[in-house]
């Protein structure tokens, strides 16, 4: 991350951000003006006189003004442990995502070993695992939550299970690729050492699969986060980013949904960056 910040990208990135920020304000005014004009014409009691002024403080703006976003952040960030603030809810969602990813890794490894070790397993199950990837798996989330709830699984656990369910495919495929990645020469060497297949896995195949595992983790992390949020939305939940999204979306609090959108974007980027950091720690030889 630091290396990237020091890279020659920094200045162009800042310029692009600045251009977008400068374009945003007129665009926001342009988008909000008709709404503001209509609000003025309707004679509602507003705290502004001209349409231009009203455009920056509409209750449900098409695009929120920077001042509104700023105020929204100030409202939603503090206090840190409030059930209605972003930090606590983001932490809950992050926990669900991470537990889900851990679960997905265990199941993914199991499937990957099955795929690598048994051709019958690969032939009979792999087509369905691949097909499940082209399927909008997310559609199953609402049903799984209700179903698990019926059997007494409640709270953050069903969300983690759904996150795992959605994240396990990229991990299984990535690890299977990784387990197959050692070159034949190394495998032959293991054979000349008379290594058992268990030793071959432990000493050669697993270490070789690590880089693939981390590449898969980056995809799986985003998938798991999406799964966790969708699971929170489609059930009665008391905590989590998804619950905040659903609540504020129902309450038609436009500024709040924008703030939560930005917060969950940051959460996604942080979680993926975490994987990148872990990768550098665990596989230093890959640099």
């Amino acid at each position: 991350m630091l290396a990237r910040l020091r890279s020659p990208n920094l200045v162009p990135m800042l310029v692009v951000a600045l251009v977008i920020a400068l374009l945003y304000y007129p665009l926001m005014l342009f988008a909000n003006l008709p709404v503001a004009q209509r609000a003025l014409d309707s004679g509602a009691a507003l705290e502004c006189d001209s349409a231009l002024e009203c455009a920056t403080q509409l209750r449900s703006p098409v695009l929120p003004s920077p001042q509104q976003l700023w105020k929204g952040f100030a409202n939603l960030l503090f206090p840190l442990n409030s059930p209605n603030a972003i930090p606590l809810n983001a932490a809950v969602t992050a926990l669900e995502t991470l537990v889900g990813l851990l679960l997905a890794t265990v199941v993914g490894f199991f499937f990957a070993i099955g795929i690598v070790a048994s051709r019958a397993f690969e032939r009979s199950l792999l087509p369905w695992i691949v097909a499940s990837q082209t399927v909008p798996i997310i559609a199953i989330a609402p049903m799984l939550v209700v179903l698990l709830g019926q059997y007494g699984v409640q709270g953050w656990i069903p969300k983690a299970i759904i996150a795992a369910y959605i994240a396990f495919f990229p991990i299984a495929i990535g690890v299977a690729k990784g387990l197959r990645s050692p070159d034949p020469l190394s495998l032959d060497l293991m054979k000349t050492y008379n290594a058992s297949s268990w030793q071959t896995y432990l000493k050669l195949r697993f270490p070789a699969s690590l880089p693939y595992l981390f590449t898969a983790f980056k995809v799986a992390m985003t998938a798991a986060l999406i799964g966790a949020i969708v699971a929170e939305i489609s059930t009665i939940s008391f905590q989590g980013i998804g619950k905040m999204l659903a609540e504020n979306s129902r309450a038609a609090d436009v500024v709040a949904t924008w703030v939560i959108m930005i917060a969950s974007a940051v959460l996604g980027i942080v979680l993926v960056a975490l994987v990148g950091w872990l990768e550098r720690v665990v596989t230093p030889w890959k640099r």
Partner: protein, 329 residues
């Protein structure tokens, strides 16, 4: 010496695994027999019947494994190669059907596969309308817009180093953002009807296409670039004859990934409000009132369309980039 053998024996060289085929037949027969005998019963099955199901499952699973080993060992076409997977699916469906009936799980909780298929047939008109709304209006429109804009943006980004440095890092970061969070904002901004979902789809498809296309346009062999230069090729010619053909496999990868993203984007978008139609809307509503047979039907429709769409793009890929290394035998 296994590794030295070139090619695999033809099917004729190996005897058919009759034991496996017989085991599959026996297992399926046992499971079907139980399902048939318990069709109208509403009491729990006894230990004997449960053992029957177990035996049927075990026999069929053993048989499928034998058949799969056989198919894996011989050189076959795609249709024969699909037999083990097809048998596995049939086995799973039959077992689930038998177990649900044996334990009398209420249909409101987990509907049996036969019930789901009956429902699918009964509500096909509604689901087809939902699919039209979700797939044609929302997913496909958004997909076309997102992919088109993505390719154009990648062309620009690859042409100007400044954009590559300033814009591409954002595009990469964007792929780690959860799509769901965009949905409520865009639905609020553009209304409940299909354009808001098309916008969600376009945005989610856009970034992977930009990143993929850019990689394809820039990861060109330096030798080819030198050749282009020695021919005094103009920039446009360089793109047309070298960079764009080189990018096609990368673009198609992104397009394939995009089909899944498009389906997910449109369905999730509908969770946040839809105009009374759409597969995501249907799933959300029916899951809320325990109409799981309809939910499963909608999932089947979405899955079949998702797989068909992916297959279509993969077919196009074969047609247009058949020369690429990844398709060589």
């Amino acid at each position: 010496m296994e590794a030295l053998k070139v090619g695999r024996p033809s099917p004729a060289a190996r005897p058919l695994p009759w034991l496996g085929v017989a085991a599959v037949g026996l297992g399926f027969a046992l499971l079907a027999l139980f399902t048939w005998s318990w069709w109208d019963r509403s009491d729990l099955a006894g230990t004997g019947q449960k053992l029957l199901i177990l035996a049927g499952f075990a026999a069929a699973a053993y048989g499928v494994a034998r058949v799969a080993n056989f198919v894996a060992a011989v050189r076959t076409g795609p249709l024969v190669g699909f037999i083990p997977a097809g048998l596995t699916l049939a086995l799973l469906l039959l077992t689930v059907e038998a177990l649900l009936r044996a334990y009398q799980v209420p249909a409101g909780l987990i509907p049996t596969p036969t019930r789901v298929f009956a429902t699918l047939w009964a509500v096909r008109d509604v689901l087809l309308q939902d699919a039209y709304q979700t797939v044609v209006l929302e997913a496909f429109t958004g997909y076309l817009i997102g992919c088109g804009l993505g390719v154009v943006t990648a062309l620009l980004v690859s042409r100007f180093v400044f954009l590559e440095r300033g814009f591409l890092p954002y595009a990469t970061a964007f792929s780690s953002i959860p799509i769901v969070a965009l949905a409520p904002v865009l639905v609020k901004m553009m209304g409940l009807e299909w354009p808001s979902k098309a916008a969600i789809v376009a945005i989610t498809v856009f970034f992977p296409v930009v990143v993929g296309t850019f990689r394809g346009l820039t990861e060109v062999s330096p030798l080819s670039l030198d050749l282009m230069r020695s021919y005094a090729a103009s920039n446009a010619q360089q793109y047309w004859w070298l960079r764009i053909p080189n990018a096609l496999p990368f673009i198609f990868n992104a397009l394939k990934l995009g089909t899944t993203l498009a389906m997910i984007g449109s369905i999730v978008g509908e969770f946040f409000g839809a105009g009374g139609q759409g597969l995501g809307f249907r799933i959300q509503i029916e899951a809320g009132r325990f109409g799981f047979d309809i939910v499963w039907s909608a999932i089947i429709v979405a899955s079949v369309i998702g797989i068909a769409w992916y297959g279509l793009v993969a077919w196009l890929e074969r047609r247009m980039t058949g020369w690429h290394v990844s398709f060589r035998e």
